[in-house]
Symmetry: C2
Subunit: 336 residues, 2 copies
């Protein structure tokens, strides 16, 4: 059966196409009787508007792209889930762009709009410096997730990574820990996020009068939890003393737990561990993971809000929105 078009409905209801269009779009000034007549024709014919045609006519696609490094990473999965939710609520569809942290893929993201594909993009960059993004993105409505390394004209939404790291370390110190390691520097990670977390970590130690020890900053050679595992094992191996770990994310923290278990260091007795992201992982590990908890819903909501404004013509300077965070306390680093 051929698709039913607007004009078919119009003929059936003996009205103009535009009137049908008005009914479909809920335009106010349509007589109830007329509306009912048209609606009847729509129902009888089972008419569904063709969104592609509407897009061409209106210039709006009703879609946004969501560009993230990996959709199967728990944090990004949760963010995607929230954003899909919110977008649906506001009448947008979401198309997924998985960059896999490939610079080319990240660049391509910024050109989708030029292709008329989406009205805007929410983008969590990992390989692209913010300045490059700013340079490339023309007038594409764009909101960045995560830290930026320069005050540019692009909107972005984030938590206060310095304060969050500070809070996490304070939590550890308050529970009596003395030697807090930071697990998270990764070769080739050029994003600002981690540097700010490291900064907050250092600030909290200094504020508490604890001497900084560069040895306590652990490096991993990759982004996988096994890389974290290896880093922690190596630290234990070389005799590094520490009674707490603040990790860049929950996956790394899970790797740390594995390494500590294997080395016979009990958690949280010998070593407390704090993860980051408060992802579902935190509930599956043993012990469960205390984790820095960005308000993901707020992150998603604010990002969408900013994007919405941009898509509706807002042209001001880049805005930096900070959303709340908390420390989700679980077994791996209990209070007190």
């Amino acid at each position: 059966m051929a698709r039913v078009r607007l004009i078919d409905v119009a003929e059936r209801a003996q009205v103009s196409m535009k009137t049908v269009s008005n009914v479909v779009n809920g335009y106010a000034h349509v007589q109830p009787a007329m509306r009912a007549r048209v609606q009847a024709a729509i129902d009888e014919l089972g008419y569904r508007p063709n969104l592609t045609a509407r897009r061409l006519a209106t210039g709006r696609t009703g879609m946004i792209a969501l560009a993230m490094p990996e959709i199967d990473h728990p944090y990004f999965g949760e963010m995607a889930s929230h954003l899909a939710d919110i977008a649906l609520e506001r009448g947008y569809r979401v198309i997924i762009e998985q960059t896999l942290s490939d610079p080319e893929a990240e660049k391509a993201v910024l050109q989708d709009r030029e292709a008329g594909l989406v009205d805007g993009v929410i983008f969590q960059p990992t390989r692209m410096a913010t300045l490059d993004i700013a340079r490339l993105h023309d007038d594409l409505p764009l909101v960045l997730l995560g830290e930026v390394d320069a005050p540019v004209t692009t909107d972005h939404v984030m938590i206060d990574n310095v304060a969050a790291a500070h809070d996490a370390v304070a939590h550890l110190l308050a529970s009596g820990r003395q030697r807090v390691a930071f697990l998270g520097l990764v070769d080739g990670d050029i994003t600002m996020t981690n540097r700010r977390r490291l900064l907050g970590y250092q600030e909290a130690l200094v504020a508490a009068g604890v001497r900084l020890d560069p040895e306590l900053v652990l490096h991993a050679h990759g982004f996988d939890s096994h890389d974290a595992e290896a880093a922690v094992e190596a630290a234990v191996e070389r005799g590094l003393e520490f009674d707490a770990i603040l990790s860049r994310d929950d996956r790394f923290a899970a790797g740390a737990l594995t390494a500590l278990r294997r080395r016979g260091r009990s958690v949280p007795d010998a070593v407390a561990v704090v993860g980051w992201d408060d992802s579902a992982i935190a509930g599956y590990t043993s012990p469960t993971l205390t984790s820095v908890a960005p308000d993901k819903r707020a992150l998603a909501t604010r990002a969408f809000d900013l994007l919405h404004e941009r898509m509706h013509g807002h042209h001001g300077a880049g805005r930096h929105v900070v959303v709340p965070h908390a420390i989700a306390v679980r077994a791996s680093a209990p209070a007190g």
Copy 2:
């Protein structure tokens, strides 16, 4: 700056729009000189084709919808990641439909095509009976993921759940377990998948000459890992004896691990646990989780292949494709 259109390029290159179109689309019969001239104009003007217009003209959207209950579930996240990969490779975009297991949302999925949004849909239903799907789906190219409850005209891709459950139980029995519980019946779960897993579980026990004990089939009251936790705790509480658990998915298995730990039952010594999905979770739990491992890449590839054929006019009967599975052996249920 206004968008550059095909006609702008045509004027610049002093040729017809169609010739530019031919160059853009790589049509064979264009003289190299002509091609170069047009390409130059394209480059100078920075022309990008408008995909919406192309869609309207061709009737193809180049997009597929991926409909799953939760994008932040590790299994679905991994499937989405594979599918996004494959789709990108084959020149399709993926739009995400998160149904959250809402029957209305599932119904809406089937109508997207009517709206001209996508060329096809890959759909993992949870609340909708397959027959309803078949009845609703018209000629929308559609491939189902997961078991179906009746031989219908819809394509679908799955693993052999009976055999997989059988294999999992066989693995447990081979390692000397006698009393294997099945954790996974959930109130309100109407999908066939679990029934087939239960069937495979029973078959394997019977084949090994072990008497079936209905007590060993554990019920949960919801889909969350806490529900599984509660079910296992309740079982221990009422004195049920078992030395192994086969779980419907890894999240449930993680819940079981938590319950067992709290009850002082060591894993795998006292109780072996086998999860299902071989998701990332399996690596984060302690002990790590032995898990039934569907070949997710194959699942995604085959699903896309079937969909591709449907989108290109294949109209045969519903095909049922079975992809391989394995048992990913980890610490919670070691061999031997």
